[in-house]
């Protein structure tokens, strides 16, 4: 009797699910401890109201962008901690390692999932939120409330993926959870369910965000800004969001089917019952390959802005760049099968997908040449963003060759699922997406704070990263040639791989030092901010966001500019053209708690499904629906900032 009652209340949750080995428990306690500290600090300094009003319920994309970045940085630290454990395990092979194979597999599954979904995705959405509206001369995104909901769904997903540190376990099936391994038959625990619902909830947030920014760019550009006059970063975001719109619904459907297999005993991807595990592999990569470009296209955009600004020159081959972006966008849907040439689809199919994959190298190559030629006959200032750019070109080109190598199917047979592959995609994602994010961070930081980052520490961080990166991944390429497969928690010592794993481990330590240097850089820059104060336009920028205040007012522009040139702000400066201040009433969205409440109910829903707590699932669903209905039936969602107030704010800014 008690048993069934507890099942009704708690689903399959039992007290023993809270018991973890020391490492996981340590991580869990550290996270909870950090959270408690934050709560205490907020209470002590009486900041709850401030937090709620200024941040949690804010619909200002600049605030939401910062929250995305904060979550991503925390998740980056978590992902790095995971790597330290993975590398320690492999480098100390022979002395029995420190982790059980089950724990090791949970860690690499979490590492991949977190780095892609909660670091890379978070970073790009953070940057979209901060930059896109002001760069296209808009005050806001198309749907401010939807934007907030997207963020809180992302945050809910983030909490779900970290929950296994405290209760239950995480998936051991890798970051893409191939069935049948991820089916009930082989993974009966809650791990895969955590994985599914974390991604499902965060993924829906990403999809909504994608729609939001697509509409923002299509409908809200400043008058005169034709598509071919848009800054190239905005173009890259337009392409990225189109990819999101086509790719993420496939993820939603695929995860949905996997969870139906697990919850209701369906047979989509099971090995018996007529199921077809390979169908899952096809579907997940039909999302997964575009996902790679969803991450890297915005980075391309950032580098385009950075190299043009710091070369003091127009971007070389703008039209080529746009054509290349669009070409990559379209082609990225035609290559998914290259992730499993080894499935045995036959030579004709493999040849087709191999060649399509190589074809992507053409527009990518064109972009590399155009970036380099942007510096040609320029005046290149080697600030930190430019260092990241140089590092990016080097790593991305080398990683690209490795990619082309693997696009040849018979060559791929020797590299697939080996550490060579692991090294390749880390080269692309670290060297492309992460370096791009770092470049963008250093580049746009003064826009949102009014002071620049410390250059010296930035340079140190860069060199630690580059050297660490080489040490961490060159050994993996070599190990791939030696026949080392990925995801091994131990290996035969006689193979002689340990030395290379140790070198890779040293590389990871250097990368950690680089990250520590970056954290230090931000702290030092904030402490010494008065020495680095700059105005609106510290880099002699080219695009419109550099024409507004640093930090920008909530409404970005007092007067929406009219655009006549591609590098509008650059041309304005060149022609000594200034916009005459003119103050009108500005309508802004009111704060709304809808986003955070929807996120909360989504979180409840997700956790309840994972643990099979039916009543709580119902609470979650009804909560989301009721919250949305209440919001959609309320009319007073905007408030007016009167012309007088705007004038007062602008005047105050100018006198400071």
């Amino acid at each position: 009797m008690f048993n069934t009652l507890s099942q009704i209340i708690f689903g399959r949750l039992t007290p023993s699910d809270f018991v973890h080995d020391p490492i996981m428990a340590g991580a869990g306690y550290a996270m909870i401890g950090g959270l408690v500290l934050v709560v205490l600090a907020l209470t002590y300094f009486k900041k709850w109201k401030w937090l709620w009003r200024t941040w949690l319920t804010s619909l200002d994309p600049k605030k939401i962008g910062v929250m995305y970045l904060i979550v991503s940085v925390i998740m980056l630290l978590r992902g790095l901690a995971d790597v330290l454990l993975l590398r320690t395990q492999q480098a100390t092979n022979g002395s029995a390692g420190i982790l059980t194979s089950d724990h090791f597999q949970q860690i690499f599954s979490a590492h991949g999932t977190i780095m892609i979904f909660f670091v890379a995705m978070g970073v790009i959405f953070g940057i979209f939120n901060l930059i896109i509206p002001s760069q296209i001369g808009a005050r806001d995104v198309a749907f401010p409330l939807l934007n907030s909901i997207s963020f809180w769904l992302f945050a809910a997903g983030m909490i779900i993926i970290n929950a296994p540190l405290v209760v239950g376990e995480f998936s051991t099936a890798g970051w893409l959870a191939y069935p049948p391994l991820s089916e009930l038959q082989y993974s009966p625990g809650v791990g895969v369910d955590y994985w599914i619902w974390s991604l499902q909830i965060a993924g829906i947030g990403s999809l909504l965000s994608g729609i939001n920014f697509f509409v923002t760019i299509i409908k809200m550009r400043a008058p005169g800004m034709k598509l071919m006059m848009m800054p190239i970063f905005a173009w890259s975001v337009l392409c990225c969001t189109s990819l999101i719109m086509f790719a993420f619904p496939i993820l939603t459907a695929t995860l949905g089917m996997l969870s139906l297999d697990r919850l209701l005993g369906m047979h989509f991807f099971t090995s018996g019952g007529g199921g077809n595990p390979m169908l899952y592999v096809n579907l997940i990569w039909a999302w997964g390959h575009p996902e790679v470009y969803i991450l890297v296209l915005p980075a391309f955009g950032i580098f385009s802005e950075v190299v043009a600004t710091f070369s003091g020159k127009k971007l070389f081959g703008y039209t080529s760049m746009v054509v290349a972006l669009v070409a990559i966008t379209i082609l990225s849907f035609t290559v998914w099968l290259h992730h499993f040439f080894t499935m045995g689809a036959g030579a004709d199919v493999n040849t087709f997908f191999g060649i399509m994959t190589m074809v992507i190298a053409i527009p990518t190559g064109v972009k590399v040449f155009n970036w380099i030629f942007t510096m040609y006959r320029g005046r290149v200032r080697f600030t930190t963003p430019m260092l990241w750019f140089m590092g990016f070109i080097v790593t991305f080109t080398l990683g690209g060759v490795a990619g082309v190598l693997m696009s040849v199917p018979p060559a791929d047979f020797q590299f697939h699922n080996s550490l060579f592959l692991v090294a390749h995609f880390h080269t692309m994602i670290v060297g492309g997406v992460l370096f791009g994010a770092f470049a963008g961070f250093a580049y746009w930081f003064p826009k949102f704070t009014g002071f620049t980052l410390n250059e010296r520490l930035g340079r140190y961080a860069f060199w630690l990263w580059i050297v660490g990166f080489l040490l961490a991944f060159v050994p993996l390429y070599i190990l791939g040639f030696m026949g080392a497969t990925r995801r091994l928690d131990h290996y035969d010592p006689s193979l002689g791989w340990q030395g290379l794993f140790i070198v890779a481990g040293v590389g990871v330590l250097l990368i950690c030092a680089g990250v520590a240097m970056q954290v230090l850089q931000v702290i030092v820059s904030i402490v010494k901010r008065n020495q680095n104060r700059v105005g609106e336009d510290p880099w002699n920028g080219r695009t419109l966001e550099w024409s507004i205040a640093s930090p920008p007012q909530v409404y970005n522009y007092t007067v929406i500019p009219t655009v006549t040139y591609r590098d509008e702000f650059w041309e304005m400066k060149r022609r000594h053209h200034t916009i005459k201040p003119e103050y009108t009433d500005i309508w802004l969205p009111k704060n709304s708690a809808t986003g955070i409440i929807v996120g909360l109910f989504a979180l409840i829903f997700g956790v309840a499904v994972v643990w099979h707590v039916v009543w709580l699932v119902i609470v979650g669903v009804i909560g989301v629906i009721v919250t949305l209905i209440i919001r959609l039936t309320s009319d007073e969602t905007e408030e007016k900032l009167t012309a007088a107030e705007v004038a007062k704010r602008e005047l105050k800014r100018q006198t400071v």
Binding site: I211, M220, I250, T252, H267, G273, W587, I625, T637, E638
Partner: protein, 194 residues
């Protein structure tokens, strides 16, 4: 007080956003259709569509949904002309038709499950239940939306926001109709006759 939401640009954004949402939903259904196409022969010794589907029954379902697409059109026309009563009546009729459709679909499902041909019988039935069920879930959400709109129209007079939402709902409902026609022809006709 200025009603910002009446701004034509705001409405344009919403319409574009909604169209794009429908397109993403289309991709989702495409994924489910593709899955059905791959798995429809994987009956694993269980019955195939030809044995299970009652075509006249499904035809009735189809007719009901098509009619509801017509009635929602009448409701929107009524709304555009400011005829509150006409709009309300047609909205209620649409709701009733949608609910009838859903009831029939659930009846079909319960018969299948009762005969031992539930979603866990074979991959074919999993994909069938999921594809048709996802459509049904959309209809359910649509009914909920419709209910909220009926209540609002009842309580307040026409507001521009509500009329705009009514137009978007029209898009949604027609979209579900089109998806159903695909389900009818691909799942029931081709699957049921072959």
């Amino acid at each position: 007080m200025k009603q910002v939401t009446n701004d034509p640009v705001v409405q344009e954004k919403k319409t574009l956003g909604f169209w794009i949402y429908l397109m993403t939903d289309c991709v989702l259904f495409a994924g489910l259709f593709a899955t059905f196409a791959v798995l429809h022969t994987s009956t694993f010794g269980g019955p195939s569509g030809a044995k299970l589907f009652d075509l006249p029954f499904v035809l009735v379902e189809t007719m009901i949904l098509l009619t509801s697409s017509f009635t929602i059109g009448l409701a929107i026309l009524g709304g555009a002309r400011g005829f509150k009563k006409q709009t309300l009546v047609w909205l209620i009729v649409t709701f009733a038709l949608g609910a009838a459709f859903l009831t029939l679909e659930l009846t079909e499902f319960s018969h299948l499950v009762a005969d031992g041909n539930g979603w866990d019988r074979s991959a074919f039935l999993s994909s069938f239940f999921t594809l048709v069920g996802t459509h049904g879930l959309h209809i359910t959400i649509g009914l909920l939306w419709l209910l909220v709109m009926i209540v609002r129209l009842w309580k307040f007079n026409f507001r521009q926001t509500d009329l705009n939402r009514l137009a978007l709902f029209g898009l949604f409902w027609h979209f579900l109709d089109i998806v159903w026609i695909f389900i009818f022809s691909i799942v029931y006709l081709i699957g049921g006759l072959s």
